[in-house]
């Protein structure tokens, strides 16, 4: 059976369970917000020291996304959104598998974990030199990378894609999907 069929069967199963679809959506949104905020951490902490007005915080968040879109390019934002969605899907499948089979398989989640973690490095920031990788001591932050962070998103996407396949495969082997 091809890899695509195995993956499709797992996703189809999830799509027929509305609670898991909602869970995927919530996780994807939370991860997207997290990826943007963590790469503009100093931006958010500095405004939080001045005001906690939710309207202003929302404006700052939207402004960040707009700036990444304009300066790093739409592909960068879309890649972060895709990583967030696939990571949410991956986590939901792990929950679905574990709740159905009552077996927790840690090793199939390792790649997913690295993918989710790696995704955090992919989002550009809204001030020079303040991206997550810049904070780790890489002078220039994501600006020194030719694709301004898209490299990390691509790596994260590959890791999550493999993780999704392994989770789907284990679901099939355990009889969760046919």
């Amino acid at each position: 059976m091809s890899k695509v069929v195995i993956l499709t069967a797992a996703i189809n199963l999830l799509l027929h369970k509305p609670a898991y679809v909602i869970l995927t959506g919530i996780l994807a949104i939370l991860l997207f917000i997290l990826y943007i905020v963590i790469n503009s951490f100093s931006v958010f902490t500095s405004i939080l020291a001045i005001t906690s007005d939710p309207f202003i915080l929302w404006k700052v968040f939207v402004n960040q996304v707009e700036m990444i879109w304009e300066i790093a390019g739409p592909v960068n934002v879309l890649a972060v959104a895709l990583v967030s969605f696939l990571a949410g899907l991956n986590l939901s499948l792990v929950v679905l598998r574990t709740r159905t089979t009552k077996v927790f398989i840690g090793r199939t989640n390792v790649l997913g974990f690295f993918g989710i973690f790696g995704g955090a490095f992919g989002a550009a920031c809204s001030a020079c030199n303040t991206a997550l990788i810049g904070l780790l001591g890489v002078s220039g932050g994501l600006a020194i990378f030719p694709l301004q962070g898209l490299e990390f998103s691509i790596l994260a996407l590959v890791l999550i894609a493999f993780s999704l396949y392994f989770v789907s495969k284990s679901m099939r082997e355990m009889g969760v999907t046919k």
């Binding site: 369970k17 609670a19 898991y20 909602i22 869970l23 919530i26 939370l30 503009s40 100093s42 931006v43 902490t45 500095s46 405004i47 939080l48 020291a49 001045i50 005001t51 906690s52 007005d53 309207f55 202003i56 404006k59 700052v60 402004n63 700036m67 304009e70 300066i71 929950v95 574990t98 709740r99 009552k102 077996v103 927790f104 840690g106 920031c125 809204s126 001030a127 020079c128 030199n129 303040t130 810049g134 002078s139 220039g140 600006a143 020194i144």
Partner: protein, 260 residues
Amino acid sequence: MATKARINPRKLLVYILSKIKMTSLLVTLLIIASFLIGVLYTKVSYLEKNVSGNNSVIAQDLDPQVPQQPTGPIEVSVDDDPVLGKDNAPVTMIEFVDYECPFCKRFFDETLSQIKSKYIDTGKVKLVMRDLPLDFHQNAHKESQAAECAREQGGDSAYFKYHDEIFKRTTSNGTGLALEDLSVIANDLELNSSALQQCLDSEKYKAEVDKDLADAAQYGANGTPSFFIGKSDSQGKFQGTILVGAQPFESFKAAIESVQ
């Protein structure tokens, strides 16, 4: 002989997950999110308390050897840098600028004009421009020096005209403006372009720009643009709260009005 029961963490996790209904899981996620919001709220309250209270403790916590972003107002200096606005404006805003930073350009394109019309032109705020050319932006240091050279010829007014022209012409990507264009800008602004070129070649203002860089590091301004906003002081030093990044106008409005 009695066998000691051992708990397998993996089985325990599976048991817990199997007992949890999906609705409960969503509720749990909601509780975790509420907790995180609560933590954030507490942190904000703590920071706001420090903003209105005695901040000397925070200032003392800053290690001048290790630049770290301040969590409350710290003493910053306007130095002898160019000023836009009335000298007696009650609020001072320092911008640490890098002409080759795309986010500084974005601030210039989108936000500065709003701050100028609402606060600077009305005499409420004066803007002091200091330099923070990051080392990986190849032409930024020279552009900062060129603006200082323009100031030498025509004062703060010439400085800000030159500043505006750089941002209008550069693509802000490290080498967004050719160095040859620095004297062209001077010519277009009816400044003495050969004098500006001589000034640049002599690196007369290199030390001035380097001093701004050192001060920025001391204040914990690691990225550009970085702003310090606070109540003006006739001594040229004031307690400024940092605002990092090309934030929307609403952020600056909140920062300025929290000082007024």
